[in-house]
């Protein structure tokens, strides 16, 4: 097993190396000299340009630049952004990544939880009118052009109804002279959500293993949630936290809706193939109720591909959020990336794309681990194959 893990890690390192090298090659393909605009400025002494050239390492031969670049990646030094000069690229990424992660994680979890319920409902009523209607709607949701849906939501909820803010991350008036930083409040909120999630998982496990009675689980959960809410209600930064949550509402709901389509369709198509399996027939033959057969047997068999898609959707931090964040002016990694790309900010854009690579690769490793843990067949087949 340790051997498999080591081999996987080496392979992932290779993927990242390949990505970093491709990025380097594309940057070098760019026509022109990055310091040319400095040379065109007549008020700038040549010595200053020379200094800039040396700072960017452009006086080195190509392989020297390549080694410097790879060394920088390994030590976490991604250089200085041009677009948001003079901030460090690592600093910008550390600030923006949590915002994207929070948005994507909350929306993906909500969408898949709903998607499993909707998908199993339509699969069970396969080829009925209800199934046709709902599946048609889901296909529309899955194929609708995302920015279009996002703008539609903004128009309805922010302009026509005026319930929610039309994007942005916070209200500047509220945050003027704030004693806390935006990132610290945001991270505290994220930590709270993670705490509640861990609590929910523990409660579910305790229920499944029958370690606690249903009543005890409910009492403990309610106390915990009330405690967390109470702490926030007393906290001096509560207004700021409320402002952030208020702005996060519309993007989160929209991303959930957009993810729901593919999630439910996948659940449906996975479950359509499990409804006529022998397992389900046997469950029926044992005289189990229809609902029990559906939820405990047919749906459970359909879960593995859905779990895989869930993990890959979490990696949608990469592609899914690109347009989406920009439409909602959500200052996450996607907005930063598109802005950097449009502005031709090579250090920031390449730094973010390597970050994307790390996120994708990490998610893939986690997914493989999860499948290995969940599906015993994978373990035996691995052994048999090698």
């Amino acid at each position: 097993m340790w051997r498999t893990i080591c081999v996987r890690l080496v392979q992932m390192a290779l993927v990242l190396w390949l990505l970093a090298t491709t990025v380097f090659v594309v940057i070098r393909l760019a026509p022109g000299d990055p310091t040319l605009h400095l040379a065109l400025d007549p008020s700038l002494p040549p010595a200053a340009r020379q200094l800039q050239v040396e700072r960017m390492g452009l006086d080195l031969p190509l392989w020297g630049q390549y080694v410097t670049y790879l060394g920088g990646l390994v030590t976490g030094d991604l250089g200085v952004s041009m677009h948001e000069y003079p901030r460090e690229v690592t600093d910008i990424i550390a600030e923006r990544l949590p915002r994207t992660v929070a948005l994507v994680v909350v929306a993906t979890v909500a969408a898949f939880a709903l998607g499993v319920v909707v998908g199993r409902w339509t699969a069970w009523r396969r080829d009925s009118h209800a199934d046709r209607t709902v599946t048609g709607l889901l296909v529309f949701a899955a194929t609708a052009f995302p920015p279009w849906v996002a703008y539609l939501m903004i128009w309805v909820f922010a302009y026509e109804l005026g319930w929610l803010p039309s994007g942005r991350f916070l209200t500047p008036e509220v945050w003027r002279d704030a004693p806390v930083t935006v990132s610290s409040v945001f991270l505290a909120l994220g930590a709270t959500a993670a705490l509640v999630a861990v609590g929910a998982v523990v409660a579910a496990l305790a229920r499944a293993r029958e370690l606690a009675t249903p009543r005890a689980v409910v009492v403990i959960s309610v106390t915990l949630v009330a405690g967390v809410l109470g702490v926030w209600a007393m906290h001096p930064a509560r207004h700021f936290a409320a402002d952030l949550l208020w702005h996060a509402m519309l993007p989160t709901v929209t991303l959930t809706l957009l993810t729901l389509g593919p999630a439910a369709l996948l659940m449906r198509s996975a479950m359509v193939t499990t409804t006529n399996t022998d397992t389900v027939l046997y469950a029926r033959a044992r005289g189990l109720g229809e609902r029990l057969v559906r939820n405990r047997h047919a749906a459970r068999l359909a879960l593995p591909p859905v779990i895989a898609a869930f993990a890959l959707n979490l990696a949608g931090v990469v592609t899914g959020s690109l347009v989406f964040e920009r439409v909602f002016s959500w200052p996450g990694l996607g907005t930063t990336f598109v802005d950097a790309a449009v502005a031709g900010d090579a250090p920031l854009a390449s730094g973010i794309i390597v970050t994307y690579g790390v996120v994708l690769v990490g998610m893939h490793l986690l997914l493989e681990g999860a499948q290995w843990a969940l599906d015993p067949r994978l373990r035996t087949s691995r052994v048999a194959a090698s």
């Binding site: 396969r126 920015p147 502005a343």
Partner: protein
Amino acid sequence: MGAGPASADVTRGCVMNPRVSADLWRGRWVAFSRDRLAVSGVAIIVAFALGALLHPLLLATVWDPAIYHPVTGNDPQPVARTVVDTITDRDTQIDVARARLRHDPQAQIGDVLDVPRQPAPPSLTHPLGTDPRGRDVLSQLLFGARTAFALGAVAAVTTVVLGTGLAAVAAVRGGWLAALLLRLADYVLLLPAIPFVIFASAIVDVSIIALGVVLGITSGLGPTAIVLHAQARTIVVQPFVDAARLAGGGTWPVVRRHVMPHLAPVALLSMMTTVALAIGAEAILSLFGLVETSMSWGVMLGVADAGGYFADGIAAWWLLVPAGGAVTLLAGASYLVGRGFDTLVDPRLRSVAVER
């Protein structure tokens, strides 16, 4: 294959009986044509293709290129507006500052100016109205279909050629070559494709064709190759493949005559998924002006976005609904057709009504 009689002898053993082949495809067509959603997907694609073909004809006959050209055309459709201090009626008035800046520096309050109406709502001359630069939206929509088909075709061909090639070679040859190719597919699967195109577009110009090739490569060498390889492996162990080999068929003829026909539905499914992906990706990239193309559905949305018409909701619907709807419809139709192909491979997916 070779022209000499010797090579014809060798390949004769692995020629699929034409009647069997025809029956295979006829059976597939019957099953496919019973899938109503897939057929409506085909109908949508055909409708867009007809529109794309119609466009140059219209431009050559009834549409004057000076007015109707999707990129350089312009129809100002002037409207008489009174110059006023504060606007009370948007349709007949224009405020004095704007009139002086944009139309006539000497404009006085009370003057009547001929102001171009851009964007103009649908009318008889422009069935879908004009865009913020006075260009006909219907003409752009039809021209955009051509761009979408060009992109889709390039992406589809690249995907299918690379995907089937890699999968078939890996499945038939096996050994170190298969291991190498499958590791390559793993790598490509993990590369962030769309961010990479955005990144590349910041540095070099990305054309529609280049975009199609890049998306085709990332799909063909990645997910498509993996799915097709899984399918190909179940085919190469079938008795008829052994029979063809025993009859003296070489690797390539066996792949072409016996493996490929059974790989086709899955390949078509992957192809349609890639087409849907490519159309959506192009629209997203063009929305931000990251693709070098004169006109496409994404560019239409980008123009509306740059003018701030998205925030107006449905007030300027003809700028948003045709282009957004076309992207959604064509991508959705590709998905439905692909799903129809999927049903052919996996009989469990066929609806109960068909089996009866």
